[in-house]
Symmetry: C2
Subunit: 304 residues, 2 copies
């Protein structure tokens, strides 16, 4: 009954298999399998069962994995209690963010942290399907994620820190027939060619809601996940798109039109594993992140 072994069990559950867990833990599948075998022997209860060519946790295994979360939290709390007798927290924090948030947040966050001795920040941009964001918390301490208004809550077991809400505007090229307008309604967009994200990604449901309001199925011309690329394509007149208001640069060559009649926006949140959240450095970075978010919110409020 080792801390590493319990961590492995959790990874097997969250990643859904030995091989995937091994990848996250930087181990070989063989090592993971052996750890599971040893843990099962120690417990005297089968913790995993074969399902197809994969693997699933038994109820006993799931119960143990649940309890393992509390263990990990207790360990990190112990570490924090000890670090509390130090002048300031130190360590390295791994942060991931989806593309546009990364662009907005990483530079300033790195500026802030540069002034902290002993704290190193490892940044990575990771844009995944909505359902896959929580899994990223296995690899990162802080995961900056986004989900559209009205989407389901994140699953239990992941800690959520709200950062800011960002409206989605309709982006059109300067030469577009609606370019001079300040606002548009869904009905006016019925025949437009859309550039949107791949199926399952965070803002897709918003376009669906807009289309439902207009009555017609949206005509999707291109599927582009990277907002920078989408912006360039919109600017060149290859279609219109829903783009986040704050993370679309003013010099991008597109016009952003307020959308009326449909609440279109996304919530940007930080996702953390409970044990990681206990680390004092992590808490400090999250604090800086929320401060940054408050600033963005403030600026947004002033702009609107």
């Amino acid at each position: 009954m080792d801390l590493r072994t319990l961590e492995t069990l959790r990874a097997v559950r969250s990643q859904g298999g030995v091989t995937a867990a091994a990848a996250v833990l930087h181990l070989t599948p063989s090592a993971v399998s052996q750890q599971l075998a040893a843990l099962t022997a120690e417990m005297g209860v089968p913790l995993t069962e074969r399902v197809g060519r994969g693997l699933r946790l038994t109820p006993a295994g799931a119960a143990l994995a649940d309890a393992a979360v509390d263990v990990a939290v207790a360990v990190e709390r112990a570490r924090a209690a000890c670090q509390g007798h130090r002048d300031s927290p130190v360590g390295t924090v791994r942060v991931s963010a989806f593309q546009s948030a990364a662009q907005l947040v990483f530079p300033r966050l790195l500026d802030t942290v540069a002034g902290w001795d002993g704290v190193t920040l490892e940044c990575a941009d990771e844009d995944v399907a909505l359902a896959d964001f929580p899994d990223l918390t296995d690899r990162f301490d802080v995961v900056v994620a986004h989900r559209p208004d009205g989407a389901a809550d994140w699953p239990a077991g992941v800690r959520v820190v709200p950062l800011f809400r960002e409206p989605l505007d309709v982006a059109v090229s300067p030469g577009h027939r609606l370019a001079g307008r300040a606002e548009v309604s869904p009905e006016e967009l019925a025949d437009e060619a859309w550039i949107t994200v791949r199926e399952g990604f965070p803002v897709a449901p918003v376009l669906a809601a807009v289309a439902a309001r207009s009555g017609a199925a949206p005509r999707i011309a291109h599927r582009i996940n990277d907002f920078t690329v989408a912006t360039a394509m919109v600017a060149a007149g290859h279609g219109i798109s829903l783009l986040p208001r704050h993370t679309t640069p003013a010099f991008a060559g597109v016009r952003l039109l307020r959308l009326t009649g449909v609440p279109a926006g996304r919530r940007v949140e930080a996702l953390l594993r409970p044990d990681r959240a206990e680390r004092r450095v992590v808490a400090r970075v999250v604090g800086a992140l929320t401060a940054l978010a408050a600033e963005i919110d403030h600026r947004a409020g002033r702009a609107v």
Copy 2:
């Protein structure tokens, strides 16, 4: 940051030194010292400091040790959660009891547990000074301890399960001048020669209270810790003693007289470390123990 290392830190604190901790953990002092060094290096904070030729935990070390208790509890809770998906708990439980309780309880407890598959009981008789009972929980899962009425509570951090209260009677030989009496008052015992336990042991304060009531300092003829030996000496007329009512056999050849005017008794309790208490087998054994205690209490109530 290993579970074993945290356990070692706790042992160093509770045992008050590297050597003593090593003895409890079945390790060499060198191994304990190395674990402490590694843990200190990992934490980046001094956890121990030299005091004389011994060692003491720094505030940071104490905080870590405190938090380590929660870790150990979480681990045992995890184990229990897993064992909950098994038919019945198994494992081995180490129980210690002071001499007279051991005599009263061990045989019947072993009878009960004999019917449980996969559960083994390791019994040991350990009678130590009042202050040393809590430390025994490092070596045993369940420690049956006793303390006189009015004694201070056990220190925080140890879980206490009350078992029963046992009155202390005055034991005299059949030929003694008071042998025919049913009750005696402290004043009538002013000139008696006493057989009592060694200084610091659980019933010593009771005799002090009795003597204080009689006004004179007690004349202590012998210091005998084992009640069986004391009983034999009282029976032979070498003095009188305070003996527990229920654990003194009727055929011992002494007369037990109720003591009036002074609340003389001791509380018998089970002491457990919080993490050990989480083990399902341990909880089951404690359950059997309290059932036994209730039976003793009932019989006592009937007898009185």
